[in-house]
């Protein structure tokens, strides 16, 4: 089975700082990690491989240093890694990112299942996985918490919904995004770590992909960010103390203006 995992390098959340002037993430000097949700996708890929065999390819789009995330993926047991990196990709929104990743996956050729984390912890959009599925014109199952069955032709997966769970059967190829309930990611092995140092990271630029110039990077991004701001912190509520009769009266007085009475 040809398994593709899409990963993203993100700033370590425990260190996140916002520049108050520009309202953007301060990335200088902040440690980078593989997006935690993508760790579950990598683990699920490894488990599928252990069960039905195949190869796992991890792919990411990002700056040259995103290579570190790919090497970490190798240390965990991923077979091959591809880095899509080009100045022309800079400024991509979720649409352009999905498009570029999909073109990368197309160039890769065969794929039976594409695994993604449910969302990245920096942007929190949860749009890139579904975007890739649309670009490749394949079915998608979002927020999967358990894969009941997978073979060469079909998958049966449980997806989380707000009310409970849905059981979905799909043909392959398919895009599956996973939630953290699906597994416990393993730690790297020493053999994996040693291999990750020497392994080749395949690098593709815009010229290597079959991409339209106006579909990539900032030019290919329909999303326009008007403003980014840190919402003001909510002040804590008011506590009325005293006998019930008294506090009810105080409460009534306080909410009277908004009741319109």
């Amino acid at each position: 089975m040809n398994i593709v995992v899409c990963i993203k390098q993100v700033p370590d959340t425990t260190d996140v700082k916002i520049n108050p002037e520009t309202n953007t993430l301060v990335r200088d000097g902040v440690a980078s990690i593989i997006n935690p949700f993508d760790m579950y996708a990598i683990e699920e890929a490894l488990r599928i491989k252990e069960k039905v065999g195949g190869t796992i390819t991890a792919i990411t789009m990002g700056p040259p240093q995103a290579e570190n995330a790919l090497r970490e993926a190798i240390s965990l047991g991923v077979d091959d890694v591809i880095l899509l990196s080009d100045r022309a990709f800079a400024g991509s929104d979720t649409w352009a990112t999905s498009y570029t990743l999909a073109q990368g996956i197309k160039k890769l050729g065969k794929f039976d299942i594409i695994l993604c984390g449910k969302q990245a912890i920096d942007g929190d959009t949860a749009q890139v996985g579904p975007g890739i599925a649309v670009q490749l014109d394949i079915p998608q199952i979002m927020f999967v918490k358990h894969i009941r069955e997978i073979n060469d032709t079909k998958i049966i997966a449980e997806r989380m919904t707000e009310e409970g769970a849905e059981v979905i059967e799909s043909s392959l190829p398919v895009m599956v995004s996973v939630v953290k309930e699906i597994n416990t990611p393993r730690l790297p092995s020493l053999k994996g770590k040693m291999r990750s140092k020497k392994a080749e990271v395949i690098k593709w630029t815009a010229a290597d992909l079959d991409v339209e110039e106006d579909c990539i990077g900032l030019n290919g991004s329909p999303t326009v960010v008007n403003k980014i701001f840190t919402p003001p912190q909510r002040s804590s509520g008011v506590v009325f103390e005293g006998e019930p009769e008294e506090t009810v009266k105080k409460l009534y007085e306080a909410i009277k203006p908004v009741l319109g009475g």
Binding site: R186, L187, P188, S189, L190, K191, K193, M194, K197
Partner: protein, 387 residues
């Protein structure tokens, strides 16, 4: 301190530290309280390939030695000395096979031990024999056809007892020769006549299993003899030369873990409007603790490297490393409880566990009195030889 580790050693230490932080620390208190064997951690260590760091690549290991084993043991011990010893005791049980096994014996046992599929244990101590290996009462009698040995006797205080699959056991094959009449055998769990006695309740390292090994007409094939008949005492001594730096590394890890907690607590706890770490009385304690730990670590690493270089005369250095590091671990962990104050004495807080775990390092694999004996005898021997 920069110990100029190789690239592989840095990777090993990093991985061991990650396992310690993410998988051992969160469960250390649970295993200390329940005395349940930490199989889930053993599985993680096995999957990470670290059981094989000191085993030859030919047998599925990573081709390292005592230094690599020490790095892992130290990092695991920093999180939990009890869980770490389950790992280290497997190496202790494996060394007799590495040192004296034939190629066939190595092919048969080492790959599973390197992969962590099986644990090993070493059985020497008996109620009346420990440091005095010549007083061993467990016997191994060759059958008339010469194809088997029959083992009878009881070993006590055996780390990994009951949990390990492979046991290297010292028994007497010729009583008339004293210590020269001892031999070492490989005994597999499940062999008829081989059972386990009571599991001990311990002061510290409570995650580890310590049991009796009971042999009642336990019949093993002659192929399970390690080395030759009469080699038992030598097997044990050569094994301890290799394993003592491991115990020393365990002590360094325990001491470091205790200092970590003491430092953090001292920086967080405020009295008289400032952190207690700002008071010189505590600062001097912390400085002494850190310095002594670093000195032990330096001696342990230097000894481990000397052992790995193939040098045969390592008894004195191995003893010194174990003596210094374990005495420092006891001292530092006691001071760590002192620095943490009242909370340090509470069992819901991790500091006191390091103190309980540290004590055994002064006792097992030869008490520190025996270590001093080894060191002194070697000093005198060297002086007589005019070195």
């Amino acid at each position: 301190m920069d110990y100029l580790l190789t690239e592989t050693q840095v990777e090993i230490r990093e991985l061991a530290r990650q396992i310690a932080e993410e998988r051992i620390k969160p469960v250390a208190a649970h295993h200390d309280e329940t005395e349940e064997f930490p199989w889930e951690v053993m599985k993680v260590i096995a999957d990470s390939d670290l059981f094989g760091v000191y085993i030859d690549e030919k047998y599925g290991g990573f081709g390292g030695g005592v230094m690599e084993l020490a790095l892992c043991t130290e990092e695991f011990s920093r999180a939990c000395g009890g869980i770490a010893v389950c790992y280290a005791a497997s190496a202790l049980g494996t060394y007799p096979i590495i040192l004296f096994g034939t190629d066939a014996q190595k092919q048969k046992y080492l790959p599973d031990l390197a992969a962590g599929k099986k644990l090993a244990a070493f059985g020497l101590t008996e109620p009346n024999a420990g440091s005095d290996a010549g007083a061993i009462e467990t016997t191994a009698t060759k059958t008339k056809d010469g194809n088997h040995y029959i083992l009878n006797g009881t070993k006590c205080f055996i780390t990994n007892g009951g949990e390990a699959e492979i046991y290297t056991v010292v028994a007497i094959t010729d009583k008339s020769k004293g210590a020269r009449g001892a031999s070492c055998f490989i005994v597999e769990k499940g062999t008829p006549g081989f059972t386990f006695g009571k599991k001990e309740k311990k002061m510290g390292i409570r995650a580890s299993a310590t049991t009796e090994l009971i042999f009642q007409d336990c019949k093993i094939p002659k192929e399970n003899l390690l080395g030759r008949e009469g080699f038992g005492f030598i097997v044990a001594m050569k094994t301890f030369d290799k394993s003592r730096p491991g115990v020393a590394a365990q002590a360094v890890g325990i001491a470091q873990g205790a200092l970590d907690i003491a430092l953090k607590t001292a920086m967080e706890r405020e009295q008289f409007g400032k952190p207690v770490s700002s008071f010189q009385g505590l600062q001097f304690m912390l400085a002494d603790m850190a310095t002594k730990i670093e000195a032990s670590r330096a001696l342990v690493y230097a000894t481990a490297r000397m052992v790995d270089s193939g040098n045969e005369k390592i008894a004195k250095e191995s003893a010194m490393a174990k003596l210094l590091a374990s005495d420092v671990a006891m001292e530092v962990s006691t001071d760590a409880v002192q620095i943490c104050g009242g909370v340090g004495y509470m069992r819901d807080f991790a500091a006191e566990k390091y103190m309980r775990d540290a004590k055994i390092t002064q006792i097992y694999e030869g008490t520190n009195q025996i270590q001093r004996d080894v060191i002194a005898k070697n000093l005198i021997k060297e002086a007589l030889a005019g070195k």
